[in-house]
Amino acid sequence: MQSLSRAAPYRRDPAPSRWAYKMQRLWLTPAFRGFMRFGVPLLMVALAVGIFLASPARRESLWGMVASAKEQVTERPMFMVNLVSIDGASPELSDAVRAKLNLRLPQSALKLDLDAIRVTAENFDAVARAVVRLGAANVLQITITERQPAWVWRTEGGLILLDDTGHRIAGLAARADRADLPLIAGEGANQAIAEAQAVLQAANPFANRLRGLVRISTRRWDLVLDRDQRILLPAENPVAAVEGLIALNTAENLLARDLTSVDLRNPQRPVLRLAPAALDAMRAAHGITVPTETKS
């Protein structure tokens, strides 16, 4: 007779199958786990994006969507710049800057490259510094600091105005246009403006006689006075030489005499060159006769 009580249910094997065991062990491997948790989702996203972008039409429409959204934002009226105001510059300069910038207004402020505008303005010779900012009511404010002309430089190509750092400002038609500025000449004169300034300051006592400074061999300065007098300064320490000359001049009234040049290149021994007439007079006074040279 079969048992009356409930038949014992089929007992499931509690042991994991070989595959379940292996899968559990695999899942407990940290590298695999990390891969499943981060690597696989990333790969899935990358795959989805890749599939979406694989077709050119979808790519085009996506870029178009992005561009139009961007346009919509940038073209809003509160971002539009309608006016450029240039301050601190002469009318000619501001016109030139305006022409060079060539801004098509109205334009969105988000598209303006203020840095590029600043660089363009500062590329003008006459501009020392430019400050560009978007002012109130979306006015593009360009504040320009102009270079102040301090020297006139006579070159082979003509006259050039320089500022006190030696930077070119503009050309000059005639010396008489800026007679108030000191004149320099010679190659590389603009490189040594600071020295020229010092020499000029030192030579102040005979400033009324000074015609200009000449840079010799991009190395030293000559002072040119009226009556074709020339003072040759040393390359080293020209200011001291000028001061020495002033002392001599005060004592001996040197420059009033009939000299063509004073050579101060050797500080120990100034050399004077007399004008021919003065030389003859001096020789006659000393009773020296020189046979007249006959040039063949």
Binding site: S3, S5, P14, Y21, K22, Q24
Partner: protein
């Protein structure tokens, strides 16, 4: 023997790798249950505790993070008899423990009680070359031990140096860097049936695990349930398992003898099942619930419902008194204890200074066993429980987990074995590059 030497060295290497990685599994393949613990090693052992035990008994550096027990299947007398079943049981235990610990373990240290362990005491002696003991001298003296005939198909499970003697001084724990002329050593060799080890190895391999160590469960439960002074002064541990009862004698912190009786708690269950005509599962339940070894007048009146599923009313309503049950259990328990006593006597346990015997293992939980055991084994018998280990679940602290816990301690503090020392250069074949390299290493 070199083959085994190599495989033991490989296991040693794997164990080191596992300890570095900080994760190792403990697998106790028993006859009645398979237990798996997962240990996490963290922190550095505090130094200076090499000799005496610290407050945490030297086990502060690991923690049990996963534990699982499952009913053993396909294991008889501590040996694998049905490989597939055992593999499934191991998989169950390992998977549950991994799930609890939430880590994957690759290295496992296993212990088993079968294989008919046999102990051998070996002695070796060498003359020292320069009156100072060096590392390779220890290896040489171990290699100089006369190898006994361990028999066909047997393998060495443990080969532990237990004592070193230098000239007339004996009882040295570590002879290195001491001066003397003659170094002698005693080694304890434990051999088991090679096929049993091979089966276990294969079974663990089929579970995708690497065997990083193997130990006899009698040794492991001795480590866990003997306290420090018992191990120092000499004591025997009797691990009464399901299918076999293992004995190990410890002296001066070393195991000096181990043996096993192929009788255990399962035999008691089988007796009950036969006498009462009940299935083994019912017999097991009756044994654990009502079992005992001392009958009193109270037990005559305590009737136990046997129950049954036969459909026969008379048979399914049978009752036995507890006295009858004890009458079935007691002779078998006595037999086990007598056999154990016999083995201990044969090993010369009675000559040891201390006659302490510790009973542990699942079958030692029968109430009243200590009284019965002291009548058979001698007066100094106590019931042993394993040491407490950090993180061990409450369910796994009973005496049936002695060898599992012992294996944890074995993993944390492995004892030096023969294969932990380098092979002396003379043992390599002549003209080998290894020999030349070894010679260079030893001499420079």
């Amino acid at each position: 023997m070199t083959d085994l030497y190599q495989s033991q060295r490989t296991m040693r290497h794997l164990r080191k790798t596992a300890l570095q990685r900080g994760m190792i599994a403990i697998l106790d393949v028993g006859t009645s249950k398979i237990a798996c613990l997962i240990l996490r090693f963290d922190g550095i052992e505090e130094p200076g505790e090499a000799d005496g035990m610290g407050s945490m008994a030297g086990q502060s550096n690991f923690r049990v993070i996963g534990a699982a027990t499952t009913r053993s299947r396909g294991v008889r007398f501590g040996e694998i008899s049905a490989m597939n079943e055992t593999e499934r049981a191991i998989r169950t235990a390992v998977q549950a423990a991994q799930k609890m610990a939430n880590v994957r373990v690759d290295h496992v240290i296993a212990c088993f009680s079968g294989g008919e362990p046999r102990s051998y005491g070996l002695a070796g002696e060498i003359e020292l070359q320069d009156a100072l003991v060096r590392e390779n001298d220890v290896a040489r003296v171990l290699a100089a031990c006369d190898a006994p005939d361990i028999g066909e198909g047997r393998e060495v499970l443990h080969a532990q140096p237990v004592n070193f003697a230098l000239d007339h001084r004996t009882g040295l724990a570590d002879p290195r860097a001491q001066s003397g002329n003659r170094l002698a050593c005693d080694m304890h060799l434990l051999t088991v049936d090679a096929a049993v080890v091979q089966n276990l190895l294969y079974c663990i391999k089929r579970c995708d695990l690497d065997l990083a160590g193997i130990a006899s469960s009698a040794y492991a439960s001795g480590i866990a349930s003997l306290v420090e002074d018992e191990r120092e002064l000499g004591a025997a541990c009797i691990d009464m398992g399901g299918g076999s009862t293992g004995m190990s004698i410890f002296m001066k912190k070393h195991m000096i003898f181990s043996d096993s009786v192929r009788l255990g708690g399962d035999h008691v269950t089988a007796d009950i099942a036969q006498c009462l005509h009940v299935p083994l599962a019912v017999a097991e339940r009756i044994k654990t619930k009502h079992g005992g070894v001392h009958a009193t007048g109270m037990d005559d009146r305590e009737m136990i419902e046997i129950g049954g599923d036969s459909g026969d009313w008379e048979k399914d309503r049978r009752q036995v008194s507890r006295t009858e049950l004890i009458g079935i259990i007691r002779p078998r328990v006595e037999e086990i204890l007598e056999q154990a006593a016999e083995r201990l006597d044969a090993a010369g346990f009675s000559h040891l200074p201390s006659q302490q015997i510790v009973l542990t293992g699942g079958a030692s939980q029968i109430p009243g066993l200590d009284g019965l055991a002291s009548r058979i084994l001698g007066q100094r018998v106590r019931m042993g429980r394993p040491l407490r280990v950090q993180g061990l679940p409450q369910a796994a602290t009973g005496p049936s987990f002695a060898s599992t816990v012992g294996l944890c301690l074995f993993a944390a503090h492995p004892q030096d074995e023969w294969w932990d020392f380098d092979i002396p250069a003379e043992r390599y074949p002549a003209r080998s590059i290894k020999r030349a390299l070894k010679w260079f290493k030893d001499n420079w």
